[in-house]
Structure formats: C-alpha cells, structure tokens
Subunit: 481 residues, 2 copies
C-alpha cells in the first residue's frame, strides 16, 4: 500500500505546513529519533516532522494520506519495545509530538487537566500539584516520557494498585485520524453513555488507529500523608501474604507495593553505591507506600504496628519505616536505580508479563526453576506484585553469551518466561505494550477471532495502513494475515 | 437483511437447544418480556428463548445466524429506554439471560468475582460481602437488574463518585459473537497491554456487538465505617461548594453525594409517608455518605464538624448526621423512593443528561429558566451532583397534558433539556444509555465521523445486523445512514 510512490511525495509541502526547520532530513538531526534510548531498534526515516499544533498534525496527516506516506508517531521515545521507531525501509515519516506542549487547562472544579500530547508526565504531575491535586501516573521515565505516548501505550508504573493504569485516568481524547480529520472528544464528563467508547480503542493502540494530540485527564486529591517502608522477607509467597494484610489493614491507602529479589537488591546497592536499607540481607524485599488524602499523624505508627505484627507472624523478617522525607527518597531511589544496577551486572533481558495477583509467587518459582541450572544468566525479579506484574529480568554473562548468539538465546529465554505467564492465565505484556518486539509473538497468544476483530478495527480506522505500520501487527504482506 | 426468510426458521431446532419449556411462544408466557417494566415500550417477539449456559447461548446465536433471525438480548428488563424490547414486527427472538445465574468464582486473593450475565446485581453484592469485599455498583433496581445488562448499558448509580461506573469495574468478559463463537476473555489480570481492548467496546454497546454471558468483576475492600448525612441548602451553587469542601476534607472517602430539589423532597415525603429529615424546609438537599475501609470512630465527629463549618460559612442551612443504622436507612429510603413520589404527582418525564461537574448548578438554573412560565409541568431535580449527572424530571399535570398530546409535549421538553446539556459540553445520556428512546436523537449530537466509525465497528462485529437491531442505531433502511 505504501510502496514506492510515496518517495515522490513533495517534502516542500511538509515544510510549508510546519516550517523549514521542523522537517529534519539530515542524519545528524534525526539521530535522537531513529533509534530508541536503549539503542536496540534502529530505523531509517525519510524525514522527522515536528508540528506545533493539532492543526499542523492534521495537515501533516492529510498530506501523508494523499501521498500514501506512512507515519510513525513518537513522543519522548522512552518506549521499551521499538513502537516509536521506523522500519529500515526509509520511506516513513516520524511524526514527533514534542512541540505540542501546552497544558490547555487545569480545571480544579472538575478534577481534570487538559494537556497536549507532548507534555512530559512530570509537567502534568507538577501542574496538578500546584493546584493541590495529584496526577497519579508515576514512571521511572516521567521526566522524559510524554503523555501522548503514555496514553498510546497505556502506561502503568508505580501506583497502579491504587489508581489503575493510564487507561483509567483518561476522561477524553483529541485524536487526528489518518486522513487528517480531528476527532474532538476532549470530554470532561464523568459519565457519558452514548454509543461505543472510541476513546478506549485509541488507548493502548500504539498509534495504529489515530494520533493522540491532547487529552483530558483525571486529577485526584493530593495525598497529605505518605508513609514508606522497606521490608525484608524470606519468600515471594510471604510477599503475597503481606500484600493481603496491607490491603486488609489499609484498604485504598495502599498505593505502592513493589517486590525486589535479594539479588536485585544486592546489584542495585553495590553498583549504584546505595546503602542497604536493612541491616542484614534477605531473600526478598518489599517497598510499600501508604498514602492518605487527609493529614493523619497516626499512619506511621499504625503502619509500624502492622509491620511489627507481620514480623511476629513470621511473614516479614525485618522492616523499617522511613522516618523523614530524606529516608523516603532513599528508599525510592533504590527502586528507581534497579535498571542501572542490572546493566552494570551484565547484558539485560527484561520481561513485562503479568499474571493474576494470586499467582505472583508461583510465577516467580516457575521462572526460577526453569533457569535453575543455567550458567549463562542470573535472574532478578522486580516489579508490581500488587498488580501481578513482576518483571523477570535475565542478566546474561557477557563472556558466556557473546553478542553473536545473544538474540537467539534471548528468544529462547523469553519464550520460556512467556509460556510460564500464559500457563498461569497471564499476559505477555502488562504495561509496555507490543511495539515491534512482541508483534510476531502476539498473534499466537490471541484467540484467532480476537485477532480478526482487531484487524477489522484497524482496517476501519486506517484503511490505507499508514499509521505506525508493522507495529502491533506484522506487515500485511505476511502470508497468514 | 433480516426480512421474511427468518419466519421459515425452524423453532423446533431452538427447542432442541434449550428445551421445549424454555422457548416461550404464547402471549401469556411472553408478557413479562415484550414490554418494559414501566410499560412504555411494547414489542412483539416470535419467541422468548431462555438458554441456561454459554454453550446454549452460542448454539442459539449460531442458529439465528444461519437463519438470519434477529436477536434481542434481555437481562432483568429494568432498562429505562427500551433497549431490551423487540420491535413490533414480530420476527425477532428475545434472548433472556436470566438462567445464566451461576457465580462461577469468588476470588478473594485477586479481588475478583466471576459471575454469569443473569446474576442480579444484589446477588453479586451479597456474594462479595460474604467474603468481606465490596462490589460497589449500587442502583435502585439492584434486586432485579442483571449484571449482564449492567455491563451492556454501563450502569452508573449511587457510588460512581468514588468507584466509577460499571465500565471501571470490569476485568474481563465472556462474549458470544453473532455467529455463535465464544470470545473468551474472562481475564483476572490487573494489567494487560496486548492490542485493542475489545472489552471496552462491548461495555455500553447495549447488546449490538455481542452477547455478554459472563464477566470477571473487581472487588474492593468492604467499608468498615459508613457515615451518612442530609443537608439543607439554599441553592445548587452552594451544593457545588459543599461538594468541593467534602472532596477536600475527605478525599476518596466521599462515596455518595446526591442532590434533591426542595419539591422533590416535598413530593417524596408527602406521597411516600416519609418523615422529613430536617425540621424546616429548604430549597435544596444533599444526601452525603462517607465510607472508610478501616474502622474509624472519629469519622462521624469529623463529618459533623465539617458540616457545622459549612453552616457557619453560610453554604449549608441545616444538616443532620445519621446517628445509627436505622436513621441511615431512613435517609437512603428517601433517595430510593423519589420515583414513587414523582409518579404520584403527575405524569413523569425523566432525563439522564450529564454536564461537567462544575456546570451542575448552571445546568439546573438554565433548565429552571427554560420552563419558568410553564403551567403544564413542574420540575424536580434529583441525582448525582458529584458526577455532573443530575436527572431533570418534568412532572406533567395530567389534566392539562392529556395522553394524546403527551408524546409531542415530551419531545419538545426533552429537546430543550438536551440542548441545555449539550450547550454546557454535556451528554444526552449519562448512565441509562440510548436504547430505542434516544436513538434518533443521538446521531445529531455526534461528530459525523464518530458516527461513521461506530457504524464501521458494528459492521465488523455484526455484519448481518442481527444483534439488537434498531437499538443505538436507527434501522439501516433509513435514507441517510
């Protein structure tokens, strides 16, 4: 569909739309756009186009539609799976949303913020905090990732157990369709039951159905009390028991509960020069945070009592509650630095599976067992035990697994981990999406009819197949599509 | 598409699938199915079919698909807009889901309940409560309405301000597609980012895309403390101020905030023999409930203090906090009885518009102004001010508006109210859906492209147009479709 003819398309028309300096053609100018931040996916773009407004995005898409040019939308380029990187064919245009950076409205009465796609997550969080509200999505990359990308990939992160993923935080969207028409649905309504909810199709569609240019997002009361603890445990089974106790004791106040394996803690403290939070070493750790939207001086004490009870009951070995903000920041720093700890220890292959929350420990045990004899890799586990989304991270010994065999090894390891997740009624992607990386595997994990329906939706929204081709779905030329 | 040929379809094959006694053919047997509970919509069915399992639903749909027979799914038949009532042509089959009544699993560790479509909402609530969990959807009709219908119409109700509507409470669905294939997506996962989220298309689709046979639903911590108050106020503007104060003071604890106009209170207390909750009369009332998932003896006192402060600040005239469960039940009884109060006062025309929460008072004022001079009707207002979903209820004087002119009058009145809601960036249907009643109006309030996309989705899922034809969309014969 988008073959050779697009190479004739007149780029000077694009320059007329966005301005000469916002059509990037040289290799140097394009360098931050054609590969991902981890430098695993390398593409070639005919141009990088940087519109500054929804109107300009609309014109760029209309131009691409007329000329059968494929468009690869890109936000902060912090994705893990290559979803924002063009193919190597060189005939695609990268549409960077970075200049759509206006926060259009901070609407306290409606607990809503209306922001353009290129605003960073941090900018949204800060704008909310200024009016005494919380925007609860929280990710390691929040200073760089952009809200349009967060929506297109249905980002998850650190407070999903309380507030849900990005999908749950969207009130309305403004979306540019492949032919340039703007679908204006920036509703601020809390209830609207008038037909099919198109918004939910665009969320998590990874730019394959339309380009999200702005969104109305939900705001929440800003917590006035935050209490954070680190607990050391003997097993992931105990971690699930502690999760149950925390939910029972604190209800909706439980806003974060992250698990780290002992080796993950060792690598992070060692390679990042962080002081271990507990005196002795433990097999497993939990980072737990409670938040309260009212001032509550008793919460720290209440939390400490609950943890003490866990120690008496033998499900926690040791625990410490942060006594001040500096100590709290130290605990969180540990969680945020795990990727650096892992990278220092070897070549990293991370996974983003999910299982039902109740199966979290079983998932860990089965992955451990599957690689128990391996001398090629070490396993660490880190992630969101309250959501059943525990990242199994394989750290390969670079000496034993040289570059030339890494891809093959990685594929084998991932297949085993995916099968374990699926065997527990889980998913191969919990919060990172599909992108390029998982696209070829995805189909085999879907009921064929679901796949057919997804394809039909794609055709209805993007009949020419111009939006982010090759992402989510394999290219349409493949025989079995 | 589903013309005459379907009359040849062999009903004996249906009897083979569900059993002779579950294919209802006589007028007497069908009487509870072919009209709605308010007796406003009257249809004719070729048969009412009552399968007992997903497998039987699948066989019935496959039969209907082969024979081009249209299917009208029906749950508890408590809908407001005729969405579950067949046309008068007499060639449709009503598919009653009432016998799919198994709660398949109450899964405490995953905070999930898996229930079949025919379970009543009350059965779900009770099953959750038995394991110390809350299923938070709460409606006046909860003893009769069925969870399949609640999902198909994305029901709202009394605790949306805290927990969101039905859409937010669904983890996964089992759906039978028009040709009988079962889409098995009863996920219990909290995170799953693997392509388009089909679940959200079925939610609120009013049975036009597939038949929901079972669902995995979210459970929440069961509140251990509930405190309820009634406040009398001078104006709806003050009600919005109080809403802001309650959110600020109590955060997520605010689980219900309902507004009633003074006349609504008068009619309900008078016609239902309920004692007025406050000593003197007020222009407006709020029913406010706070819930806590932990025991909190201080909440009542804290609530009373906050209300007292509102009185000092002049935004509340009088207020009373329920001192025990019996008084709490009395307050709630008042809210639940409003429909009976209204029906006793005249012929009722209710509306289910929504506006941004901040526009709630403006919406009320504009509706009041639009009918200020009318001698044909009285206006009362009741509903969910925390969601911007305030039901404007016109009560017609039966003497002045006799039956023969009622429909025409009703149409005029509704048009005015809808235009006011739309003028405030609102919606014509917040929690009741579209059904038959609003179908012809809906299209004019949608961006044409949104309508085209909805139509394309309908065609992709139900190419023969056999599922609930004429609901949501006008029949395909109409010239402008």
């Amino acid at each position: 569909m988008h073959g050779q003819d697009n190479m004739d398309a007149n780029l000077s028309e694009l320059k007329d739309i966005v301005g000469n300096q916002h059509v990037l053609l040289s290799k140097e100018e394009q360098s931050g756009f054609v590969e991902d931040w981890r430098k695993r996916y390398h593409g070639v773009a005919r141009a990088v186009v940087r519109p500054k407004s929804t109107a300009e995005v609309s014109k760029v898409l209309a131009w691409a539609y007329r000329n059968n040019v494929a468009i690869v939308p890109q936000g902060g380029n912090t994705g893990m799976l290559g979803g924002a990187i063009p193919s190597t064919r060189g005939d695609e245009i990268i549409l960077s949303l970075t200049r759509l950076r206006t926060i259009r409205d901070v609407d306290v009465t409606n607990d809503a913020i209306v922001a353009e796609a290129g605003c960073t997550l941090l900018e949204i969080q800060e704008a909310a905090e200024k009016v005494n509200r919380l925007f609860p999505l929280s990710l390691g990359s929040e200073g760089t990732c952009q809200v349009g990308g967060n929506i297109a990939t249905n980002a998850g992160g650190l407070e999903v157990v309380r507030y849900g993923p990005m999908r749950d935080l969207v009130l309305g969207l403004e979306v540019v369709l492949p032919d340039g028409e703007v679908l204006e649905q920036i509703y601020r309504l809390r209830k609207n039951n008038t037909g099919y909810d198109l918004k939910h199709l665009f969320i998590g569609a990874e730019g394959t159905l339309g380009i999200i240019t702005a969104a109305a997002l939900k705001l929440y009361p800003l917590p006035k009390t935050r209490v954070t603890a680190i607990a050391g445990l003997a097993s992931p089974e105990d971690a699930l028991v502690v999760l149950g106790i925390m939910k029972e004791e604190f209800g909706a106040r439980l806003s974060t509960i992250e698990i780290l394996s002992g080796l993950e803690m060792q690598l992070t403290t060692k390679h990042c020069g962080i002081i271990a939070p507990l005196q002795s070493e433990h097999g497993w750790y939990l980072l737990i945070e409670l938040t309260e939207t009212i001032a509550n001086d008793l919460l720290t004490e209440h939390f400490a009592t609950a943890l003490h009870k866990c120690i008496e009951d033998g499900v926690v070995e040791d625990a410490t509650v942060a006594q001040n903000n500096s100590q709290r920041a130290q605990f969180w720093n540990l969680r945020h630095m795990v990727a650096e700890g892992n990278n220092a220890a070897g070549r990293v292959l991370s996974h983003d599976t999910s299982v039902p929350v109740s199966e979290g420990a079983r998932f860990i045990r089965r992955v451990e067992a599957a690689f128990a004899g391996s001398s090629d890799l070490k396993l660490v586990f880190v992630g969101h035990i309250g959501d059943g989304n525990i990242h199994a991270v394989a750290i390969f010994d670079r000496a034993k697994v040289p570059d030339e065999i890494f891809e093959e090894k990685a594929k084998e390891v991932s297949s085993i981990i995916f099968e374990i997740a699926i065997g527990l009624d889980g998913s191969i992607s919990a919060e990172h999406g599909i992108g390029l990386s998982l696209r070829d595997r995805l189909k085999s994990y879907k009921q064929p009819r679901e796949w057919t329906l997804m394809r039909a939706i794609k055709s209805a929204f993007d009949p020419k197949g111009l939006l982010n081709p090759g992402k989510l779905f394999a290219p349409e030329t493949s025989a079995d599509e």
